[in-house]
């Protein structure tokens, strides 16, 4: 089928150097590459997006990208109702030819690398994971990060802390919890959270590690180096453009909805951000590990359930 335009729906404004921004930017890029229109509906919140989905469908969008796990009930319904292709996240089971495609974005491979990196570079042999909530895609990265740390060095402790309920905008909470985790000995923080992640960054920038040295921050999804003050160690950067590009292609080839899309290290749709904080030798080692993962020598299975992740955390600690 021909593709005239695609539309993307995001819960927050696409200016968060994270999930929403990566989604919006990727959609724009993919559309540009395929020479189709793109409609961006951002900041829709986590409520009911059916009205917007319907409106966009009526406007003739050839594909609705519902870029939030919270939209994966509404979108398929609208797809069936108005017979318009939609793409949703975190729901591989929902595939439906020509109608519903799933893209489960999981940076777990990248997070695993980040874990290895963190374990190599932690002076205090303690690293922290701070998250503002426990959606699947973050869980898989948290667990993979912990796995990476342990497999790099079994003696390194991992501290796992969730800020609090619905803490997406709780920057103060992010800072508070991160400070506590640093006080508990962590000198590298793996942080996941929207608005709150800026609080984490702030904590890292303003708190000394136990040994008086710098604390470093590993970010996810986006690239915060434009606003970095020299504390950003790395980031598990997602590039969703290939996914959206593939979707457009499949639409044209009438194979849409037959497969779920994913991102990974091999095509660099997941990659670790290189910053000045990373010594070249360490970076070299990390790149080797990357090869091993791509070649399948190292297996990294994603773990999506919150409870499973927490369980994992408590025993990785021993």
């Amino acid at each position: 089928a021909e593709v005239k335009s695609i539309a993307i729906l995001t819960p927050e404004e696409g200016t968060d150097y994270g999930w929403n921004q990566q989604g919006v930017d990727a959609a724009k890029a993919a559309a540009k590459a395929a020479g189709v229109e793109v409609v961006v509906a951002q900041g829709l919140g986590y409520g009911d997006v059916r009205p917007t989905l319907r409106e966009l469908a009526e406007e003739g969008a050839s594909l609705l990208i519902a870029h939030a796990s919270g939209y994966n009930t509404a979108a398929p319904e609208i797809a069936k109702e108005l017979n318009v292709p939609v793409a949703i996240v975190d729901t591989p089971s929902a595939l439906s030819k020509g109608l519903i495609a799933d893209y489960t974005l999981s940076g777990h491979e990248g997070a695993y690398l980040a874990g290895r990196l963190a374990a190599k570079m932690s002076r205090s042999k303690t690293v922290g994971i701070v998250v503002s909530g426990e959606p699947p895609s973050w869980n898989s990265q948290s667990s993979a990060f912990a796995k990476g740390v342990k497999e790099e060095n079994g003696d390194v402790k991992v501290i796992y802390a969730v800020i609090g309920p619905a803490a997406y905008s709780d920057a103060a909470g992010g800072k508070r919890v991160t400070e506590s985790v640093i006080a508990a000995g962590a000198d590298i923080i793996f942080g996941q959270g929207n608005g709150s992640s800026f609080g984490m960054l702030q904590a890292v920038e303003t708190t000394k590690a136990a040994d008086g040295g710098k604390v470093l921050f590993i970010d996810v999804i986006g690239d915060k180096s434009p606003i970095d003050k020299g504390f950003l160690l790395s980031s598990v950067v997602w590039n969703i453009e290939p996914v959206y590009a593939a979707m457009i292609a499949d639409l044209k080839a009438d194979t849409f909805g037959t497969k779920s899309y994913a991102i990974g290290l091999k095509d660099d749709s997941v990659k670790l951000l290189k910053t000045p904080q990373i010594p070249d030798d360490v970076w070299g080692d990390v790149q080797k590990i990357r090869e091993d993962i791509i070649s399948g020598k190292i297996k990294v299975e994603p773990v999506f359930e919150a409870t499973a992740v927490r369980a994992l955390m408590s025993d990785v600690k021993e």
Binding site: I163, S169, S180, A184, G185, G195, L201
Partner: protein
Amino acid sequence: MSDLFSELFLGALLFGAMTAAVPLLLAGLGEQISEKAGVLNIGIEGMMIFGAYTGFVGAYYSGSLWFGFLTGALGGAVVASIMVLLCVRIGLNQIVIGIGLTLGFDGLTALLHHFQFSRTYPRLAAAEITAIPLLSDIPVIGPAFFRHHLLVYLAVLLVGVMVYVYRRTQLGLNLQAAGDKPAALDVAGVDVVRTRTVAVLSTGVLAGLGGAYLADVGAGIFVPFITNGAGFLGIVLAMLARGRPLWVLLGALVFGLCLSLTTALQVAGINIPTDVIQMIPFLAVMAMLVIFGRRSQLPAALGIPYVRGAR
């Protein structure tokens, strides 16, 4: 895992509790003043969020936290003055206006943030700490309670000040009269509208200050909806404390501690969802009310606009 619970960590947890408690304390004390004077200030959330924004802007562009606190207090006062005009002066429904102000300034600050900061996300330098001699050297307790920004000590001092004002000054009498029987205050020669104006503006100043502390010290950055609900906690605290500032302090600390408790348990690897722990303080209070629940003497004229000579 227990070796994680170093002095340093415990200190940090309690420090976090204190930091989280301060905005609630300021909001609660502020709301308490309005309620004593007979104004149900539902707009306090709006005053906090605007104070957080103006407070951050002030601190960021001037580079001085104190200037930020000043602008934050002013920001709160600006919102409060709208409330004064509409609810105290011309006596509009306090709940409608309160909710209106909260919605409006939540939205407005989010807009401003979008156009001003959403690409740069500026962050402030660490707040300078004032360590209290001797006390600050006590293990755990010291770093937890005696190594804070000066404003924190001032906020705690304010509790004492308010106790004094309520118990020992004419102003205290005026406030109580304005809430319990405004007509009597009026015929005694004190302008009720002016008294309530003072009260609501003070609320705005304190709420704004709380918001500014939250953004400038608590987070070091402003993001939309950063106060998420702190103002309403303030209302609950004020109503529970019923005119007793010390109770507001107590309540604020309990809430702060519960937040840190969350982290503590997680770090200890104890698997309780944060939501459950968030419920503890409310469950405790409800339980207390059920057990000791006596008539809560809220001011008789709470929420009722005063019009001289009306019948």
